[in-house]
Amino acid sequence: MPEPSEFDTALKPTWCPGCGNFGMFTALKAALAELGWEKSGFAVFWGIGCHGNGADFYDVAGFHALHGRALPAATGFALTRPDMRTIVIAGDGDGYGLGLGHFVHSLRRNVEMTCITHNNQIYGLTTGQASPTTEHLMRTPSTPAGVLEEPVNPVGLALASGATFVARGFSGDVAHLTGLYTQALQHKGFALIDVFQPCVTWNKLNTHPWFRERVYKLEESGHDASDRQAAFELSMSTFHDMTCTPEECRVPIGVFFAEEGRPTYQDGLSQLDRPMWKHAQAPRDVAAMVEELG
């Protein structure tokens, strides 16, 4: 069984001191170690953003894909390598901006994979512009008068799109986040964990203290994670805005919804009985198919 440190490479993370990405990095390595996942048994796909820079720091088989396109790249892999597991690590700008269409379609597809989204509610790598999850009216370099759009609600959108596992984590609580990861990684279907991870450099609103004053754990609140409707109502009612006080604005973390037993996309593919590269070990005999065209 691997130790968490075995997933480190020779490179040290370059995220800003205090960045929420560190907590997510630690939690994922811990979850992989706890589950005993061998490095040859899974592949990781990243989009482009501060989260994606993590590609260099995990000693795994991975694919640092295009901005917003980690999900389809991972889907191509997951649908052809039934012998391996697939993890996607995305960002809010990346996955909920360009990637929003892929996000919804991946959910309704229920492809078996785990999608972890670094949600810092800002564009970090490109110096602080508004992201799709930036709070309404927040001022950023690209929205000096404030964001005029409502933020994307990833948990609600996922539930509405047929998600079979939806959780929200907070990078400031590594132990709790590790628990969410271990559950998600074992889910048979598409598992989403949207993780609030404060950007200490560009997001001066949604900071570590801001979250610490507001987060509470769903499993301690009596929430029934098998009730999609309850999960949906919770995702709407607790969708915070920038003016709310810690008393008014509570941010639940934990598993919103989990449903086991729904067929995955892979379950519908009877031909997915081996790694698909095995079909290219020799030419396929198509003589009969050619004859049929006579």
Binding site: A43, A61, M276
Partner: protein
């Protein structure tokens, strides 16, 4: 000066025309299949607007005892399911041609039947008598065409029985009865049909295939494991072809949310070692471009079909053009090696597709199959593809076992870095869209010398490509009065024109640029140097191939012929140009 028509007197050209939704293409293909079963050669051309119902659809079928290279312009038998068909195509009718129609629905009382045989057949009554559905009027028309030609009915009957084999037996028999009704009715006609086309007993077997089917078979033969595509004319039928064979053949076929997803899925599947492909037309390819660059940067073995229709933007969805040559060669930011292959006919399409997968694997870079609507949509009878010649070459690829200290992007002399699949013990790697070092790490790719080394390493693969890509093909005699250079499907009408002119004493040869990138500058230059008068023929406005000749060979051709109205070149148009170039107009 009036020149002789194409083909021998045995050759017959049939056009079916009517409103969209009348099953014109399906009926035409049934007729084509009947002729192929009778040992004859066929070439068809479907023309239709981008509509489901209404609008004018036609299907033109050329049938001959001889091998056919392309369609031709004239028509000997015109089947008119509406009056518009008569008006649109009357001018193309040859001397002694027949007009087959139902007098109950098409009024031709104003036509002077001089040199024209009016074959009035009550399609609807024949269908009613057999108790069939109205759509079966097509089948009555097919029977009537054969009856007028004095061609036996049994091949059509066989073809219909095969077509409806999966339905209740009475469906097939009803169709056969309707066809026979049309056949018998037309045989009562008094006109003499000036062509004598007869079945050829014991003719070698031929298959009837369009370009998309040929590409699909090539991909299947190559061991494809993943095909993703978003519907777009003219590539959509390839998606259907793959989807219907997916489960049995063992291929994952995905129709995703858009072409961006399709191309990214293909790159992800290729990362897992699966032979993966997508295909689209120019609009979809535009959306794929960023991921095409990703395949170049990450050194992913992918095959992309770009089947051109007239652009820009939505353009003319159902028509043809060769205007994406430069787009295929230059698409995506930055510089990376790629191979672009341009099949000219269906046999090319099969062979170049399986070869494309080998090239992609050996070179670890994207290979583009550049086709067009003329290839995708139209069927030609051809010798069954040589499936025994297919080879699978996966290049430097380790799929199992273990490895230590693996460097995905190791700098080598050939530019090829050995691939080790995820899943192999020790094969930790980052396949990266960022510039990267040998390990795949993006953060170290910013080092100036590392960037230069990786950039040069990748581009060295283009030099390797030059030694293994399919060469240009020469047709015609070594010595010729006129030498043609072309790419893609323009080859077909050019070959047809060359054959006719050769028989009339005008020698023409042709160089088909098969691999359009890397451009075969030496072969093209040698061809042009050995030529008397040269002409570049291509289906675009700006002369994209001619521009490449100038740029890559520092030479030019004497003349050019371009077409950009959405229609393919006809051999008649090519013939006229070649006569002009030779000074023998």
């Amino acid at each position: 000066m009036q020149h002789a028509a194409f083909g021998t007197s045995a050759e017959v050209r049939i056009r079916l025309g009517g409103p969209a939704g009348f099953g014109i293409k399906a009926a035409g293909q049934t007729l084509a299949r009947s002729f192929v079963r009778a040992g004859l050669s066929t070439f068809d051309l479907t023309e239709y607007p981008s509509l489901i119902k209404g609008g004018h659809n036609t299907y033109h079928l050329r049938v001959s005892p001889d091998e056919l290279f392309s369609h031709v312009e004239p028509t000997d038998v015109l089947v008119a399911l509406d009056r518009a068909t008569v008006d649109l195509h009357l001018a193309e009718l040859t001397d002694g041609a027949a007009l087959v129609y139902d007098p109950a629905t098409v009024d031709v009382s104003d036509l002077a039947p001089e040199g024209l045989c009016l074959v009035a057949v009550p399609f609807d009554d024949i269908v009613k008598e057999a108790g069939g559905a109205k759509i079966m009027r097509n089948v009555a028309a097919l029977g009537a065409v054969l009856g007028h030609m004095d061609f036996p009915i049994e091949h059509l009957a066989e073809s219909l029985r095969a077509q409806f084999a999966h339905k209740e037996p009475q469906v097939a028999e009803q169709n056969v009865a309707v066809a026979t009704g049309g056949w018998e009715h037309a045989r009562r006609n008094a006109c003499e049909f000036p062509h004598t086309l007869a079945p050829i007993e014991g003719a070698p077997k031929r298959i009837l295939v369009d370009g998309n089917e040929a590409v699909g078979l090539g991909a299947l033969a190559a061991g494809i494991g993943f095909y993703a595509a978003y519907p777009m004319t003219p590539a959509s039928s390839l998606l259907h072809f793959m989807a219907t064979r997916a489960e049995k053949a063992g291929v994952i076929v995905k129709h995703p949310e858009d072409e961006i997803a399709a191309m990214n899925m293909v790159v992800g599947a290729a990362f897992g070692g699966t032979r993966a492909m997508c295909a689209t037309s120019g609009g979809g390819f535009s959306l794929m471009v960023e991921a095409l660059g990703l395949a170049g940067a990450s050194e992913s073995a992918v095959v992309v079909g770009l089947f051109t229709r007239p652009g820009p933007a939505t353009g003319l969805p159902t028509w043809t053009e060769q205007s994406d040559l430069r787009f295929a060669i230059h698409a995506a930011q930055g510089e990376f090696p790629r191979v672009v292959l341009a099949p000219g006919d269906r046999a090319d399409a099969f062979e170049l597709t399986w070869r494309a997968f080998n090239l992609a694997d050996v070179l670890q870079t994207p290979v583009i199959l550049l086709g067009d609507t003329y290839l995708s949509d139209n069927r030609q009878s051809v010798t069954p593809f040589d499936t025994a010649s297919v080879q699978v070459e996966r290049g430097e690829l380790q799929v199992e076992g273990d490895v230590e200290g693996y460097l995905r992007y190791k700098v080598t002399e050939s530019g090829i870095s050995p691939r080790v699949l995820p899943g192999v013990e020790g094969a930790q790697q980052i396949v990266n869209s960022y510039e990267h070092d040998e390990r795949g790490w993006g953060s170290l790719g910013e080092d100036a010398s590392t960037r230069a080394a990786q950039n040069e390493k990748r581009m060295r693969k283009l030099e390797l490509a030059r030694t293994i890509v399919p060469p240009a093909r020469r047709y015609g005699p070594q010595e010729a009065e006129v030498s043609v250079i072309c790419f893609g499907t323009t080859k077909q009408p050019v070959r047809e024109a060359m054959r006719k002119l050769a028989a009339e004493g005008l020698a023409v040869n042709m160089l088909q640029v098969v691999t359009v990138w890397p451009f075969p500058a030496d072969e093209v230059a040698a061809f042009l140097r050995g030529a008397k008068r040269t002409v570049c023929i291509e289906g675009n406005l700006t002369g994209q191939l001619q521009g490449l000749v100038r740029e890559q060979c520092l030479m030019d051709v004497d003349e050019s012929l371009r077409r950009f109205d959405g229609r393919p070149f006809s051999p008649e148009q090519v013939e006229m140009k070649l006569r002009g170039v030779a000074g023998r107009a």
